[in-house]
Symmetry: C2
Subunit: 539 residues, 2 copies
């Protein structure tokens, strides 16, 4: 690194010069290469209280412009951000690789996903019907009281604070789904960078700032703040000008933010996606039909990305009476694996602790297979580990339902498929549940499915929960403790609904109404008029 | 009253006999006629912890049936409830009159509204498109990864606890909007009766039970619990089987429930509508054009229903420089009024205290007019009171923005219309804001409107905020502290969205999907298919 650039940004904002802010102080931090343990220059500053205050004030001012902007303008911003990211892809992906240890191919794929998300939200914003425009026309002759004209639509909440996630340095971080959805809704965004990938965050943040500046958006449209600890995040969530919070990460982190958001003098919505153990239910007929294939699929799914996905299958229920192929395939596949690089040394250490506690803490859990080889060069690594237990032991040991972040899976053997629906009923909230079933399992399917629908946000059939499609119908959510608010998804087009609230206009003349609600339907949108969906003009 | 019926219900449930449960104990309570102060028989019991547990267990069991029911079945239930209420209208309205002091004409109107709400939600449930069905079809050939079929829809949350409001003993109570919306969504309902109108609650609750029983709904579909204090409500909100809370009432009550709901081991959504002072902004041109009419309209609106509406205009901003007619009309109208009966002696006492504190507590507030006559026979009464102050004093006295529940209004005189947008920007959250404007006010409208949209759920133009139309586009909500969750309305068709969450189904075969998501579109509903709204079948 050049000697000119030993101190990195504390804040990346649209009004800030593109060169880094020089900061004295000892409060800064470095990213660490998890493959080597070496510090990565530059040192990043931690944003100060003054910088938090400036940033939120600017965001609050930008909120007026953004709320008044058209969906097409916001679509243009999102597409420009995608463009800027693609231009900087090489540098971003290289830096992300150093900071996270994730393979380049994965990071290039994640970049494609990030760009795809921005484009999806651009389409949603430009098309515009997400605002749920509703018009009930006036009935001046109605008795005993005339009916006023009532028109409503969703409007942006205002400044949103987004917390970058460690495990998707692009798709769930600075320009990830939360940022894209909030900008699409018309909300300014303040991102608190994840301290494990500040360099990636900075590059992405600068790309967003450039895009917004080039298109003439106000300074507070977007900002990125750095911090090695929790002070900046806490100050942001507690700041009176902040109107919503989006977070993807640990249960502890998410619950701390939920408490902060709920205990403000004016509580605000907090969308925390905290992960889950994504139970998989393999019914006897499915196991009979394709034991080895299921074993292979599970092994691939729980170790994908070093098991560092919130949709990793953590618990799998399988019949005790088993055809050949399942255990053999799992043992061979997992035993043949090497230890896997993880995102940070801290995450790897917590993973190893979690696995050790489960292996040694409970007599009823048996280790079935472990990666035999370790990769010496990796400082932050975890060995894929497969464990098993009985249903009885599982039911009497509630902590076995808890997520261990990393490449481990617990297989639970059940004696009777009838027991699965009651087991499912005892589950806490999860992001997903998966069923493997064949014709022979028919008698168990309906009841189990009905129960699972109550406990998760997504039910997966004869497949695996990793891989979250970014589309209109996706629900990446689920009852607490999987998320803080099961009424919303954090992935897919519907996640825009997190950042808006309905406002209605009673008897307000057309000229003062948002275009979405004007009688002539100038945007040609589908709207609900007197309870009926139509694209018609009212004139 | 007959000696046979000296003790009323503690619980009205579908499985309970229609005769009242005889209860010993001293924990019961009576309704009190607010016009005379006399106790109204029978004495009502307070539900016990065992009864709370039984009720929630039954509701939780009924949740399965309800979640599996069709929208048409739920529509039938809602229509049957409406029918039963109409059959019992005379008795219900008579009892409500004794318990609340509200005039019979008003109560008959409120019954019509209540029945209308049930019918609206029946239509919404039967039509079905509120579930926001979304389908993204599979793309097995897509590279690098095939796209699964992803289908999502809103599904009911489970048992909902509804708190009856004092000021609408029918429309916001046992069979009110919250109950109708929750049943329409497919959620069992447990109502905690408001202790000021237990007899009305019982009659309405029995009508609901009869309707549900006749149609064969399970026992836990609906229950009504009585309590004179907060123990039963607290136990219900904290009960692990309860999934959501709906409340209309005081700020203190609502905030207590918000805290309870947020601090559960598994937090649940709490929809508290806590009221507001519904600021009215009269611009100079409007005042010039129709001062007397505005004065008359305001006087009628703030005293309607003895000012006991959450949409009562509590604060009105008017130009200091004023044509004749405004103050004269207000003085004459208010001065000519008599004191007004209020819902309970407690509410009347709090009203009188609130008015006295405002009158005497702050030097800058002047009493402009008071009802001259008092109605001696009414035990719980409040005198309509009109006060005024300057904008300067208002801005330096934050408590003047707080609601005083009852027939009082504070007029705030401003010098320059330019000041109104900054004043509006300083507002806390309110349910409504009203603007009176004419062509001459053009230069002030856009900015003021843009600000108000951020502070309220409904903007009313050249009219008055009282009167909340029950329709598809209504938003009865607004930022905290008006409500606990500005993302939802508590009146109108969209209020059903409070009681549902999205669930998605990935690659689940048609035969196991809810009808709403099946490929053939058997319900003929409008759905979003690959991002496009259509009623087409996919086959």
């Amino acid at each position: 690194m050049s000697g000119m650039r030993m101190t990195g940004a504390a804040v990346v904002g649209m009004g800030k010069p593109a060169t880094n802010i020089q900061r004295g102080g000892e409060s800064g931090f470095w990213a660490v290469n998890p493959m080597t343990g070496e510090k990565l220059e530059p040192k990043y500053g931690c944003a100060s209280g003054v910088e938090v205050a400036e940033t939120t004030t600017q965001a609050s001012e930008a909120a007026w412009t953004m709320a008044a902007s058209s969906g097409k303008m916001r679509a243009e911003l999102l597409r420009k951000i995608a463009e800027k990211l693609l231009s900087a892809q090489e540098a971003i992906v290289q830096r992300a690789h150093l900071e996270t240890g994730l393979p380049l191919a994965r990071l290039n794929g994640e970049m494609a996903r990030t760009v795809g998300q921005l484009q999806l939200f651009a389409d949603v914003a430009a098309e515009g019907s997400w605002v749920d425009a509703r018009i009930d026309t006036a009935q001046p002759e109605r008795t005993p009281m005339p009916r006023p004209a009532v028109r409503s639509m969703l409007r942006p909440l205002g400044p949103v604070v987004v917390f970058g996630a460690s495990n998707f340095p692009l798709a769930f971080s600075v320009a990830g789904g939360d940022t894209a959805a909030a900008l699409a809704a018309g909300c300014p965004v303040i991102v608190k960078a994840h301290p494990a990938h500040p360099g990636t965050s900075e590059l992405v943040g600068r790309a967003i700032c450039e895009a917004a500046s080039e298109l003439g958006w106000p300074e507070g449209t977007f900002a990125l703040l750095f911090d090695s600890g929790v002070d900046v995040g806490t100050a942001l969530v507690q700041h009176p000008l902040v109107q919503a919070v989006a977070f993807t990460g640990s249960t502890a982190g998410g619950q701390a933010l939920m408490k902060l958001a709920a205990s403000r003098p004016e509580p605000i919505p907090c969308f925390a996606e905290m992960g889950s153990s994504n139970p998989v239910f393999v019914l006897p007929g499915a196991m009979q039909a394709r034991a080895a294939a299921i074993a292979g699929g599970l092994a691939a799914s729980f170790t994908l990305g070093s098991g560092q996905f919130c949709t990793k299958p953590g618990v799998v229920f399988v019949p005790k009476s088993m055809p050949d192929g399942f255990w053999e395939t799992l043992r061979a596949t997992v035993g043949g694996m090497a230890s896997m690089g993880m995102l940070t040394a801290g995450i790897a250490a917590r993973y190893r602790q979690g696995v050790a506690a489960r292996k040694h803490g409970a007599h009823g859990v048996e280790t079935v297979a472990e990666a035999a080889r370790t990769v010496e060069s990796e400082v932050a690594a975890g060995a894929p580990t497969l464990m098993k237990t009985t249903l009885e032991h599982y039911l009497s040991t509630p902590e076995l339902e808890e997520e261990i972040f990393g490449p481990t899976m617990l297989v639970v053997e059940y004696a009777a498929a009838e027991d699965l629906a009651p087991v499912a009923q005892g589950l806490r909230g999860h992001l997903t549940a998966t069923m493997h079933a064949e014709e022979a399992d028919r008698e168990f399917v309906a009841r189990l499915l009905a129960v699972l629908v109550h406990r998760v946000g997504r039910v997966v059939w004869n497949s695996y929960p990793t891989g979250v499609e970014v589309c209109h119908a996706m629900v990446h959510g689920g009852p607490f403790p999987a998320t803080s608010d099961s009424r919303f998804t954090s992935v897919g087009a519907a996640s825009i609904l997190r950042f808006a609230r309905p406002v209605c206009f009673q008897d307000v003349p057309d000229e003062w109404l948002p275009k979405e609600l004007q009688s002539s339907n100038p945007l040609g949108m589908e709207r609900m008029v007197n309870g009926r969906r139509t694209r018609e003009s009212l004139e």
